[in-house]
Symmetry: C2
Subunit: 254 residues, 2 copies
């Protein structure tokens, strides 16, 4: 008999690992199921409860969410397409860990895309749109003053998302959404809690330029704003010796 004390020959048998399932008992529409799993994973990544490099085996996700592998695979496909996870053939999916170069390209793309979007916003935006933008800015400021970091971070990116929406171009909106959520991911990765940049004045400046019809000015302000955000990221990244740990291969396994 194979006792528990004697270590078997091959790969060690993993313990059943009773994972706490949180599947809502009530039946839900098929589309909602998929969305629920998707957002659950994205949220955990944003909260840093799922760190980059963490393995995401399909079976575990199946138990966690109480669904079959088909659905989990579909979600993983979507996550991989959005670069939230990395999908390797015949290997577990892992939470994506963007390299320094990728982060640079990411912000470059974001600057280019937002600059391309601003003229369309200026073209289509109405008074009501500007009013709602300003309302959003007030919320943002309040959250900052209340030191509600997670909420504030969400609102800050919501501003840029709203700009994408106001371009009235579904494709550009989608692309910008994709890039912004990846940026959020990066920020969440490298930003130690409690270390936030005070940026909401810059948002206000962009809106002011837009409302005054100064598109070029808005582009310039936004570009500078994004560069500042990126510089802050880089700085923090230098601070922690992330690269060293990475080189030693300590970030690979749990």
């Amino acid at each position: 008999m194979t006792s528990t004390a004697t270590p078997g020959r091959g790969r060690p048998k993993v313990r059943p690992q009773a994972l706490a399932g949180q599947a809502p008992a009530g039946r839900e529409k098929p589309a909602e199921k998929e969305q629920r799993i998707y957002t659950a994973i994205v949220d955990r990544v944003m909260e840093q409860r799922l760190k980059p490099g963490t393995r995401l085996p399909e079976a575990a996700l199946c138990e966690l969410f109480g669904v079959g592998r088909t659905l989990v695979q579909k979600v993983l496909q979507r996550l991989a397409h959005d670069h939230i996870v990395e999908l390797r053939p015949n290997r577990s999916a892992i939470v994506a860990m963007p390299s320094r170069e990728e982060v640079g390209k990411l912000f470059e793309a974001r600057r280019a895309l937002e600059a391309a979007v601003l003229p369309l916003v200026a073209e289509h935006a109405t008074r009501a749109n500007y009013a709602s933008l300003r309302r959003q800015l007030r919320q943002e400021r309040d959250a900052m003053h209340r030191y509600a970091q997670t909420e504030w971070a969400g609102l800050a990116s919501a501003f840029h998302l709203r700009l994408g929406e106001l371009s009235r171009n579904p494709m550009l909106h989608r692309y910008l959404s994709e890039i912004i959520s990846r940026c959020c991911l990066v920020v969440a990765l490298f930003q130690p809690p409690g270390n936030a940049t005070c940026e909401h004045h810059e948002h206000e400046r962009v809106v002011a330029c837009l409302e005054a019809g100064d598109v070029a000015g808005a582009q310039q302000e936004n570009d500078r704003h994004l560069r500042e955000l990126e510089a802050h990221i880089q700085l923090i990244e230098e601070d922690t010796d992330q690269s060293l740990a990475d080189m030693l291969g300590l970030t690979d396994r749990s």
Copy 2:
């Protein structure tokens, strides 16, 4: 017994429809399988052998390509993400048929994106890159003179794709590729064979501006070029009474 002459009660039983399978007998790597199906469908759509609105039932595709439904579904997901097909819940997937408004937004996005890409191209491009661009332009001109329409169409979009590549930004490159292939789809849909615009001079002008360091000029030339292309599409669309046939529901079935 249920004879073939008497029409049964419910929905008419469809004939097995012996479809000619073209599955390569030799085993292939899993990733290649998926790509083979994907490109096969895209190619058929581009050739207009699969017209918009054509239904794509999973079972038929399974027989055609000799694979299971899992793979077919994965491919359909990708195609839907690229807006090549439309995916409705509990209904057959159909080849996408972009509306007039979507086409407008599509070209708007393309103009914005290419304008955003050009500065990066000017920043990164080397002498050798410009040389290869010019080589491509010569091929393009030759193909046009030889009246090789399909080849020429491919080369014409290849020029824009190359610009995306030269931006050295993977994300922008991918987005531009997506949009360009959608534009190709639209062009293929509305462009009757043999009716091509003579555009390669405009490409040359863009390259000339870029090489001279005149980014704004290149953007302007490219913008005008794309607007001309779109205007040509619209014109043709007005010509054929596509909307009428659509309203009569004649475009639904083969």
